[in-house]
């Protein structure tokens, strides 16, 4: 019984705020489902993302921003919302892609 509880507990603990789709660290596209924004510049540590034309193309919690032809990035309200991405990421106002408005997104640099 203890073994069952231990295994279930370990399994439950292994969740992540990021995924191969959006947010995982990466060096190349092979590290991601779709596209890797390589380390450096606006994306310290690399950033897996998906291409988008509008917010509707992005997973929950992300917005379509006007970077590299339109990519999804985590939306935010303030800098603390971006701390889960690690050092270098802050909440910045950037151009949305396809909407013509400004949105807050977690960006590095």
């Amino acid at each position: 019984m203890r073994l069952v509880v231990l295994i279930l507990a370990i399994s439950a603990c292994q969740s992540s705020d990021v995924s191969r789709q959006v947010g995982a660290r990466c060096d190349t596209n092979a590290d991601c489902d779709v596209k890797c924004l390589p380390p450096g510049g606006d994306f310290p540590g690399g950033f897996c993302t998906v291409l988008c034309d509008t917010d509707a193309n992005c997973p929950d919690g992300t917005r379509c921003i006007d970077e590299q032809g339109g990519v999804c990035a985590f939306s935010c309200a303030a800098d603390p919302s971006c701390t889960f991405l690690g050092d270098g990421y802050t909440c910045k106002m950037v151009d949305s892609h396809g909407g013509g408005a400004k949105v807050n997104a977690c960006i590095g640099g």
Partner: protein
């Protein structure tokens, strides 16, 4: 006195016959001391537990009136796409679905019959197995020790042939590459099979 003596004489043959009646069977009467079988079904996986189509081969050997050793080779075919990534702390994480990955396992177990009626005989099963796991899309593989527990039912369809249905919970731990280290194994398998007495 005469009446009691007559009754005793009349019942004596019946009582003697009752002594000779065999006790009811505690396992399927048509089950021999050895049998082979094959089964097919589905196994659920997740994270670094392989899941998908389950195919198994069995060898059964009688241990006692109710218990048979069940030596099995279990194959799981899930395939699937890459699902591992590095999180923001650079930890390597795998998030495979219920039916991804491949595995092969050798299991030693025991099937314990609970007593049945007619052709139908329910049983419990438990065992331990050594499993090789591979998620080729991610280059992730490893070995795991698994514990199996479950139950099922056996139904005789003819002398020497039976069909089975069983479900089992599979728990364990595995050691994996890519800095994953020790990871839990957790799954459920449901299979149906056929057995032939030897």
């Amino acid at each position: 006195m005469y009446r009691w003596l007559s009754l005793a004489i009349a019942l004596a043959p019946a009582l003697a016959h009752a002594d000779q009646v065999a006790p009811p069977p505690v396992a399927p009467p048509d089950m021999s001391d050895q049998a082979i079988g094959a089964s097919i079904g589905a196994a659920t996986g997740g994270r670094v537990t392989a899941g998908g189509l389950r195919v198994a081969g069995h060898f059964l050997y009688q241990l006692s009136d109710r218990d048979w050793f069940d030596g099995s080779a279990l194959f799981t075919f899930g395939g699937g796409t890459a699902a591992c990534f590095r999180d923001r702390t650079d930890a390597f994480i795998c998030d495979h679905g219920l039916a991804q990955g491949d595995s092969i396992e050798l299991e030693a177990g025991v099937r314990h019959y609970l007593g049945g009626q007619g052709e139908f005989w329910p049983f419990l099963l438990g065992g331990i197995g050594l499993r090789g796991v591979d998620f080729s899309s991610d280059g992730v593989n490893g070995f795991a020790l698994g514990f199996h527990a479950g139950g099922g039912i056996r139904a005789s369809v003819s002398q020497g042939v039976a069909i089975t249905a069983q479900g089992e919970l599979e728990l364990g731990f595995g050691a994996f590459n890519h800095t994953l280290g020790i990871e839990p194994q957790l799954g459920v398998a449901i299979t149906a099979g056929v057995e032939f007495r030897l």
